[in-house]
Amino acid sequence: MIPLSYYLILSGILFTLGVAGFIVKSDLISVFISIELMLNAVNLSLIAFSHYLRDMTGNLFVFFVMVVAAAEAAVGLAIIIAVVRNRQTLSLDEMDLMKH
């Protein structure tokens, strides 16, 4: 059996990659995908803990996380479309209407 720590380390690496992508990327869609990566890294941890603890709660939690991520994606894409209609750009570097 693969020990718990392997899953946790993998999940930590994926989460960190998501954080790095969020910070480094300037393309809106890439940033959005980075967030999804972070959420799925958490899901991996949840499933691993759930298996390790012999407890169904973690499995249950994953479904809620997926539903919430889907809702967030729906609203997020709608907002992105509104932004693109106003500005004709997908680059985060140009989102600077309110710099002081």
Partner: protein
Amino acid sequence: MPTSLMDYLRILPEIILTVFGALILLVEGAARGGSRGRIAGALAFIGSLLALAAGISLIRYPGTAFAGMVRVDSVSIYFHILILATVAVVTLLAMDFLRTDGHPRGEFYALLLFAAVGMGFMVSSDNLILTFIGLEISSISSYVLCAYRRHAPKSTEAALKYLLLGSFATAFFLYGITLLYGASGSVSLPAIGQSLAGKMAAGGLALGSLIPLAAALIFVGLGFKVSAAPFQVWTPDVYEGAPALVTGFISTAAKAAAFVILLRVFYVALRGYSQQWFWLMWVAAILSMTLGNIGALRQTSLKRMLAYSSVAQAGYILVAFAVIAQNPAPRVLPGHAPVSGILAGPGVGAILFYLTVYTAMNLGAFAVIARVANRGERFTSLSDFAGLGKRHPGLALAMTLFLLSLLGVPFTGGFLAKLYIFQSAFQAHLIGLAIVALVNTVIAAWYYLRVVVYMYMRPPEGELPPIASSPAWTLGAACCAVVVLWLGILPGHLLHWLAK
């Protein structure tokens, strides 16, 4: 344990809000012509008042519901009343703003009610899954509300930044609670507290090293939501770009609900680790107060200035959190959930009082800004407020009251709220923190009073369009003003209640 009628009674405010939110969307779809927004507004107001009544009636049904997922205790009842009253006032304030700006109205009210559903669950949740879902219901509704002026580039940009950084923060919060679940084997807050305490007593945990990491991740996530430094970078942009009333709503009700989660997670579940999280609160409090106030000094947009000011206000509240960490309240017996115990600790009463006053004064200030900003929110800079005392004495007077309260001048609620926080800090021997807070209050005087000086001592600059009268707005703003004055002059009732 099978669900009973009592379980549903304990989430009655949320049920009412959901039903009315859905009803508004249905009615709005069927209505024609001039009646469209008016019916939706009336429904939203009635719905929020009914939910408020249901929230007050919760006093008669304390306890838990749905197998311990929902906990109705004094804190959850208190914040239900605060949040639902805020929603009712925002509904009043929004009625004419939405009409003159020509936005579709039904969806605004529906989203407002749905956001309140999420906040209701946030404050009464005793289960991390429910907390997460409540947080997301309220956040996702707020993202859409921020984008409400969807043809205005600033509004959509604000919504985008709120969405991206909000989801980013959510991921951190989620990772934190996952690790907490892994280390304790439960997602129920009292069970986590007991499990951690039991395992600590038994000589350490198998996964004990995860706890500080989990606490830090949860703090990052919630720090974003309450805009505590160093996670406040999104606040100025979002608060400036979003419609003023939406800013008023998310900077008060949403923030209060997030503070309740912070309180419950750290006070109930992580009580045994208070020595560690004391420093988190201490550093965040000092950074928030200082960065917020210094940032506000050089702002010319009033919304942006109040955004920095709200970062500073979050810092004052975090001072009280540090006090709580410093004095871990008497241990709650196993199986005996901290229903009244959560209020008993020093600092908790100060947090509740501060959040109440802050909600009234901040919402009031944004209400005045929304009014002066007029159609399309064009007039939000400091120079647009010049001469307001002559042009609109009533508006200027209200703004002065709210700003003085934010500053903490005697006879306003803000003074006593700050006093209780500072007092609790001194009592807990956090002298350094209290002194930083006092110095910050002095710095804050400059930018709050500058607005008052502009309103009364500067001639109006340029031609400004007249501000249409709006009885609903006046009523809403009057509610805020009454609360600020009442808590400033006669705080006895509330304090007496808090002391119980």
